[in-house]
Symmetry: C3
Subunit: 197 residues, 3 copies
């Protein structure tokens, strides 16, 4: 739920950058926080999607909007704090998405993809709706941290590590990779025009 809150705040901030109104802000917050999980549930056929039967999500998103509206200036100063929450968010979302998919009986590769989808698709949809090229397609190690974390979970799962330890370990791994990537400005190679083969 803290992941939902932080992702929703990130959506609301993005709405604010684009000069959207309150409804636009709610939409952006919602899609950022729950878009990834929604797509995962749709694709896996696990409908109704999770937020259609649990009203807590709406409350958390409402709180995010209120917080952003009243404390916007402070939040901008808290960028570091936000980054930490966001990083925890993607770690937790990846492993939750992965575990849900495994528990529904899907194979490890698909479950890995679903973990990453849960963590990153919200941000991709947010950027698409506010008419940007999704940030994570261009910069920084972001999805990659999720992929490595998810792959490690699968591996440790095969090695019969208990799910609880595995969850904690791989979530931490994602957080660490993401933090190091930001600190040392690591990014993925591109397939760009001017690049030699």
């Amino acid at each position: 739920m803290s992941g939902v809150l932080v992702f929703a705040i990130s959506g609301a901030l993005s709405a604010s950058d684009k000069n959207l109104d309150l409804f636009g802000a709610f939409f952006a917050a919602f899609i950022t926080a729950l878009g990834g999980g929604t797509i995962r549930d749709l694709v896996l056929g696990s409908t109704p999607v999770i937020w259609a039967t649990n009203m807590d999500y709406f409350i958390v998103i409402g709180i995010a909007i209120v917080l952003t509206y009243f404390f916007k200036r402070h939040i901008m100063q808290w960028k570091k704090t936000l980054f930490i929450f966001d990083t925890i968010g993607i770690g937790v979302f990846t492993i939750i998405g992965l575990e849900k998919s495994l528990s529904l009986g899907f194979n490890p590769i698909v479950s890995m993809v679903m973990g990453v989808v849960t963590a990153v698709m919200g941000g991709v949809l947010r950027d698409t709706f506010v008419n940007d090229i999704p940030l994570i397609f261009r910069k920084e190690i972001y999805a990659t941290a999720c992929i490595i974390g998810a792959a490690t979970y699968i591996l440790l799962n095969k090695l019969e590590l208990s799910d609880e330890y595995n969850l904690v370990l791989t979530t931490l791994l994602i957080i660490i990779i993401r933090t190091l990537a930001i600190r040392y400005k690591l990014s993925l190679p591109r397939i760009d025009r001017s690049a030699p083969e």
Copy 2:
């Protein structure tokens, strides 16, 4: 169905603004008219979606394309007429989406959201596909009218007003709010950069 027709015409006009070809126009008309209901059905797990089993929708959209193609100039002059139909459209779509969701057993809050989704997501998807920031995120009371109407429906429903009266009353309410909002240029506050807290 008249809602579908008007929404489809609005999609076709948008395609025309963007200089799309006939296929693009059909796609835009389709997504504007049926995108909201499709997302509602997907999220609620009510598949196949409604238009996959009822061919009338395709016929209505075809009619919308033909009308737009042949009477474009007149339609542009009829902007006021179009506005009226569009407003009736969102009123009807909101309450239909809400009732469908309630009848599938979902809780009132989710059903309210689904009503709004039915009414507004078509326009959001249309704007996204033709590469604009969705209009309703930025201007005017639009989704808000739907939200107020949907909330009122839920309230009157709790007070045990019959569904028929409730449908008519809340649809009218949405139409009235939307009309007043346009007349007096009301809009929602924004969470923008320069705004004081």
Copy 3:
């Protein structure tokens, strides 16, 4: 599968044009190749979607990325070859999507639409995510070839032609229409502002 490969390469090339990183390229390749089929499966309620239970798709997309990364220059020179594969791709995708939809018991018109959706929505989603107006809304006979091919399949099906022959014939028809359209620069009329009625 060769359709998946070619569509994935087209997605990866598009990612390269937009200067996306490797993750962005994988996402673009995936959505281009499997986006259409995914939407078809979701709308028809045929979930989990096809790639959630068959890992071969991931392998093919991985191959497409590797090929694009290492042989980018050559691929650009092979534009003609790519065009041929892409054209075969849309032919095969249209008829596969159509047959799947018919076999699930949907009516011919909906099945036709689903064939076209399978063939073209991948490209539409790719363009939307990388922030372009989808190419096929504006130029050339593309979806139209799919529509004519799908309609012909339905017709021949009513005339009780065997499915095998029908598949081959209509796929070829799509390929021929598309090729002629490119050769003679045919395109659909537009509903544009300046156009007389």
